[in-house]
Symmetry: C2
Subunit: 216 residues, 2 copies
């Protein structure tokens, strides 16, 4: 019988069960966190809800924060991938602005349109806020690597790191702003309208510095 899921056609039973176990734990954890708040739920309670041993939870998720923010790689690789896949003739700045405005238009949860419950869960927990900072940090570093590659910069050239820092700073700011307004009870359409304007101002401010940087 065909054993593959929609994620990976050739998957053994072992790998399949691992995915199910991970999903099962993550789903119970997310539900509990949204219901009671991240800090009010213990790993033991997650394990009990998912009906696995406490140790199984910590085997799959090295830190408790990863139970709530299980999207490190996609978050981190987003701007780096956007630059890597930019159109010919397009600058890194233009590609990132284009992708961000598109993300706003589609209300992409990963740039902050995650709903009030999720936003509340994060901001109420110092541990999650700290983990999110780490995400942003890793994201800036990934972007710097791509910019260095794409411009053929020498290892000691600070310019790709400066550009990455400025661009990542905008992403951070717009993300925070989206989250903040979500918490304040605004609906997504209103937030999208405002943040769209903010994004144009913010990316526009970098135009003179980065308009012709890393053009493919």
């Amino acid at each position: 019988m065909y054993a593959g899921g929609m994620d990976a056609p050739n998957m053994g039973l072992r790998e399949l069960k691992k995915r199910q176990t991970r999903e099962n734990i993550s789903n119970h954890a997310t539900r509990l966190f949204l219901e009671r708040g991240f800090d009010a739920v213990t790993i033991a309670q997650v394990a009990a809800a998912a009906q696995v041993a406490k140790m199984t939870v910590t085997n799959y998720f090295a830190r408790k924060e990863d139970l709530a923010l299980d999207l490190h790689d996609v978050f981190v690789d987003l701007p780096a991938g956007t630059v890597r896949d930019r159109e010919p003739g397009e600058s890194a700045l233009a590609a990132l602005r284009r992708a961000y405005l598109a993300g706003i238009a589609e209300r992409n949860p990963i740039i902050g349109f995650s709903g009030p419950e999720f936003a509340r869960m994060i901001t109420d927990s110092p541990a999650l806020v700290a983990r999110l900072r780490e995400f942003h940090d890793d994201r800036e570093k990934a972007l710097a690597v791509v910019l260095a590659e794409e411009t053929g910069a020498e290892p000691d050239d600070i310019r790709p790191r400066v550009a990455a820092a400025q661009l990542a700073a905008i992403h951070r700011l717009l993300f925070d702003e989206t989250l903040r307004r979500t918490l304040d009870g605004h609906d997504n359409d209103e937030i999208a309208r405002i943040v769209d304007g903010y994004a144009r101002v913010a990316f526009g401010a970098l135009e003179p510095a980065l308009g012709d940087y890393a053009v493919r």
Copy 2:
């Protein structure tokens, strides 16, 4: 008898003892952290070394990280204060660049010239790295507040936050770079030379965007 220290002339015996206790704990903690590493030292060991109860340590320092990084306020207020005290006719960008280059010239520990032992202590400890990220975050927020005040911006004006994000991003980057090179064993003079060049590139990149922003 005159009871004041050099910090506060009118201090009761109670307050004096509090300062001594705090200093005593902090000194023993710093010594132990540099000797054995932050994570390898427990609060109980700090308490034993300082000959106080464990609870006294946690009374003075809410988090263990604060035992090693007892400079939150001065770190956070540095750029905000620089902008607030800038010369007439000077932009926020010019003031921050001037202050940063001066900091490099005097090898100011607070911008990263802290010596290899201290740098090692920080980078070896995820908890301290995370706390440092929080410092940078608070610093950006403080700077944004000052820029909003100084430009008379409306609450919904994103520009002071964009400017603060870009300027704080440079501070972050240059701090990390100074720390990284300190860890790599370079001496302060060499680092100062290199980071000075980096600072000119980084602040210079913002000149077209911020050259005439927040001029006093």
